[in-house]
């Protein structure tokens, strides 16, 4: 049984991400999509995924490899990451310095009824990331660790993994665009406008 976290989800997330505008953000489905959409105010630097469970890390990896001059942040839940742990090996093999992975680990599949995930049954995702070869892999479970988490995510010199340990509760829903072509266009147009050398 997991211990309870002293962190409050929304506040802890705001503290570790700090300045969402510094990142290109890819979020995984479910409650992480609410969090990312709220945090960015549905910003054009967010590609809000709400399906294709397990895709957040590899989408972020492709983006990070494509745009080495930009810092890429993947924000996803423990259930979403658990569906594709191999993606951590693939990311680590490439080791893009501009990629940071933030896992919002509350040990539950939130939107399906709060069933416990494997992280509430013994899997330590920070150890998994370290074992896959992430040069930085740390857990943030206390207020005093938030600053270290923020600095790790913002570090653009190394591939980074941060596990934010949260209580098994869900964030409030937050509305965001779910139609695929408009979010693809919005993201690419904003990136192109900010990247004068882009094709």
């Amino acid at each position: 049984m997991r211990k309870s976290s002293e962190l409050t989800r929304t506040a802890a997330l705001a503290a570790v991400v700090d300045d969402p505008d510094r990142y290109l953000i890819v979020c995984g489905l479910g409650t992480a999509a609410f969090d990312a959409s709220r945090l960015t105010g549905n910003g054009a630097n967010l590609f809000p995924i709400d399906g294709a469970m397990g895709c957040a890390v590899p989408v972020g990896l492709g983006l990070a490899l494509a745009r080495p001059e930009r810092q890429v942040l993947v924000m996803t839940g423990d259930g979403e990451l658990l569906m594709n742990l191999g993606a951590l090996s693939t990311a680590s093999a490439q080791a893009p310095a501009n990629l940071s992975v933030l896992v919002l680990d509350n040990g539950t599949w939130g939107l399906t009824g709060g069933q416990r995930t494997h992280t509430a049954m013994g899997t330590d995702l920070t150890a998994v990331a370290a074992g896959c070869g992430f040069p930085v892999a740390l857990t943030v479970s206390r207020e005093a660790e938030l600053e270290a988490g923020r600095a790790a995510l913002a570090d653009d010199s190394r591939l980074t993994f941060v596990r934010l340990e949260l209580n098994p509760e869900d964030p409030e829903p937050y509305p965001f665009e779910r139609h695929g072509p408009p979010i693809r266009k919005r993201f690419r147009d904003a990136l192109a406008a900010a990247s004068p050398s882009a094709p």
Binding site: P58, A64, T90, A93, G180, P181
Partner: protein, 181 residues
């Protein structure tokens, strides 16, 4: 990642179409080559690894490659997925990302379970590959002979961009030859 092809890397290739097909991909702006290895893709994989203007991405499962190519597109470049038919089933959920967002997408698939196949394990997924890909919205172009490959890859490139489609080039067992394993 730079997209400008300089020259085709000096890699000893095993098939006559490998270097022309690779050059077509690079000239069309493909910089990410994601793969689960197969003997039929060996040349393209080695070319990508040897090319300073491209990145070769070994995958643990084919589904990662689909998502990686979507990320490449979001990053204003292009990725291609190299896989064999035994991995097609692994991609179905991620192909929903391609379908839902209408990402342009290209995969080159080496087919097993066909012309002269001796391994009975290869038939189930090999036979299902084209129908599964088509059910997920991909257009499949088959290359049956060596002289087909370069024109088929060239045709696929235009269908992906500017055509905006998701396309699978199927490198058939008649083209590649049946394996002894």
């Amino acid at each position: 990642m730079t997209s400008t092809p300089t020259q085709t890397p000096a890699v000893a290739t095993t098939r006559p179409w490998s270097k022309p097909a690779y050059r077509l991909l690079r000239e069309a702006g493909y910089t990410q080559f994601a793969y689960v290895p197969d003997a039929g893709h060996r040349d393209l994989i080695e070319l990508a690894h040897a090319d300073p203007g491209a990145v070769a991405v070994p995958l643990t499962t084919e589904e990662e490659g689909v998502a990686l190519c979507a990320g490449a597109d979001l990053g204003l470049t292009k990725g291609v997925l190299l896989m064999q038919s035994s991995g097609v089933g692994n991609t179905i959920n991620m192909l929903s990302l391609i379908a839902h967002c209408q990402f342009p997408f290209l995969t080159l698939v080496t087919l097993r379970g066909d012309f002269g196949e001796q391994n009975p394990w290869q038939y189930a997924m090999g036979r299902a590959s084209q129908p599964v890909l088509e059910e997920m919205g991909l257009i499949c172009l088959r290359a049956e002979r060596e002289e087909d490959v370069v024109p088929t890859v060239e045709a696929s490139l235009g269908m992906v961009e500017p055509g905006g489609r998701a396309v699978a080039v199927l490198l058939t067992q008649r083209l590649l030859g049946a394996k002894k394993f």
